[in-house]
Amino acid sequence: MKTDRNAVEFRLSLALLALVALIPAAVSNPYWLGVIIVSMYFALLAAGWNLLAGYTGQFSMAPACFAMIGAYASGLLSYHWNVSPWIGLPAAIIVSAAIGMVLGRIVMRLRGPYLALTTLSFAEIMRLVIGNSYSFTRGDLGLNVPGLFDSRLVYYYVFVGVLVAVQTGLFLLLRTKAGLYLRAIRDDEIAAASRGVDVVFWKTAAFTMSTAMSGLAGALYGGFSQLVSPELGLIAQTGLVICMVVIGGIGSLIGPLLGAFLVYASSEALREVGGVQLIVFSFLVIVFARFYREGLWGLAKRAFMRKPA
């Protein structure tokens, strides 16, 4: 049964995250720790987008936008009203979820390229609005925001913890009827409705959960880098997230994590060699999309697992 597949992927993601948790024991270079933290930021975005696109079939172009919204929600609260980032964090989640719910409800009837275009426009509009509202957001200069913690190491483990919580949440969610409904909607929305699935509710729910995750990621990242700017919401950032998920393996629990770590960490490593990382990754996405949808995780499965027929 499919739940077995989920269980395997879940256990492997935990193993992967355990590995990540052990890295600081061997590596103390703050630069590299920072690289992994950013990878974890992307992993959160990737997991959220994968829930929406991989499991529910809604290809939104707005994950980075909602990270930006979350970061600004928390950042503005602290910048203008001195609200502690401890409150800013849940506020970011709520704001992103609320806006996401509205957007999701609005784009309900759209599919494929229409959905992509609408979410893309939304993302661009938000970015332009935030970038232009100089008096409120300091525009392209960005906001300086305080962090939750002073130590990079603490942030590192916070990210690990959040990722573990998110993965667990996703795993549990997918085991319930929600997992069945979302995939049914992805495969055939009309049939799903004919069988009695409340398509409107579940699509909106997926959207809301996904944007909440992005908002959380954005707020955490903002606290870590202590700078929040409209660049967080660039379409290119969304593109990166999509690359990561497709390369890692869309529609699987572990694909987004794999993709995020591999793509980001190796892109930093490749940075020494010369800026070819994005060329390589976008090429890989094309190859995977064209020939092998299951991505790296799919390849790994074929190579290492012998499933009984």
Partner: protein
């Protein structure tokens, strides 16, 4: 009270009157055939019944309750389930999960759904392909699967849209067998089909449509001998 009551349903697309004042009732336990030449409005009518299209006017009552303004999922929950002409299954989910989804959506809890799904898999002879992705099943198996999804919780009425179209003769027999068996247990059916022999064999009563209207609604044998029906199928103008 009749199971399904259709009154004066009308639907036009631009100038085309796809459904032009259709009325008939289906009583509990009936097995009714719906026939008619291509373009007669059968599929549009079915779409209206299952909630995929709103009627321009008229009403549809399911067990006395008006359903013509409800969404497909609400109609399914109310007890009207439908099979599609071009089989629709959840291609990247296993056959078993397909059934589970249908069961859960119709209100069964986890344990009930699993038990019922197991039962149906046996009955539909899909045991061997139970865990394969539905998209990998043969056409006939997919049809059986879709059929099964309609019966996770026995519906008040099952609408079957051309269930025998493009289906292997053996599979046809299997399907017909299921319909007969469930009908004997009291299940109400409305079957749209072009397959006359099967309609004759299964359906005591048949409704015939042409150009959006019902032109005959009587015992199947009578319908097939009705000159109006014959004319509709073979061409020529329908007598007013």
């Amino acid at each position: 009270m009749s199971c399904l009551s259709i009154s004066e349903v009308r639907k036009s697309f631009g100038g085309l009157h796809a459904v032009d004042g259709v009325s008939f009732d289906v009583d509990y336990g009936e097995l009714i055939g719906l026939i008619g030449p291509n373009g007669s409005g059968k599929t549009t009518l079915l779409n209206i019944l299952s909630g995929h299209q709103p009627p321009d006017s008229g009403q549809v009552l399911l067990d006395g309750r008006p359903i013509h303004r409800l969404k497909p999922e609400q109609i399914a929950q109310a007890g009207l389930l439908r099979m599609f002409q071009l089989t629709r299954v959840f291609r990247r989910m296993s056959a078993f999960d397909n059934l589970l989804t249908a069961g859960r959506a119709l209100g069964l809890d986890h344990a009930e759904a699993i038990a019922r799904a197991r039962q149906l898999i046996e009955e539909l002879t899909l045991t061997r392909v139970r865990d394969l992705d539905a998209g990998q099943l043969s056409g006939g198996q997919q049809k059986l699967l879709e059929f099964g999804c309609c019966f996770m919780r026995p519906p008040k009425i099952a609408l079957l849209d051309e269930p025998f179209a493009a289906v292997h003769p053996t599979m046809k027999e299997t399907l017909a067998g299921f319909i007969r068996k469930h009908h004997a247990e009291g299940q109400t059916f409305l079957i749209v089909s072009h397959d006359m022999p099967v309609i004759v064999e299964l359906c005591p009563r048949t409704v015939c449509m042409n150009a959006g209207s019902v032109i005959a609604d009587e015992l199947t044998r009578a319908v097939l001998n009705d000159p109006v029906v014959i004319e509709a199928y073979l061409g020529g103008e329908v007598a007013a």
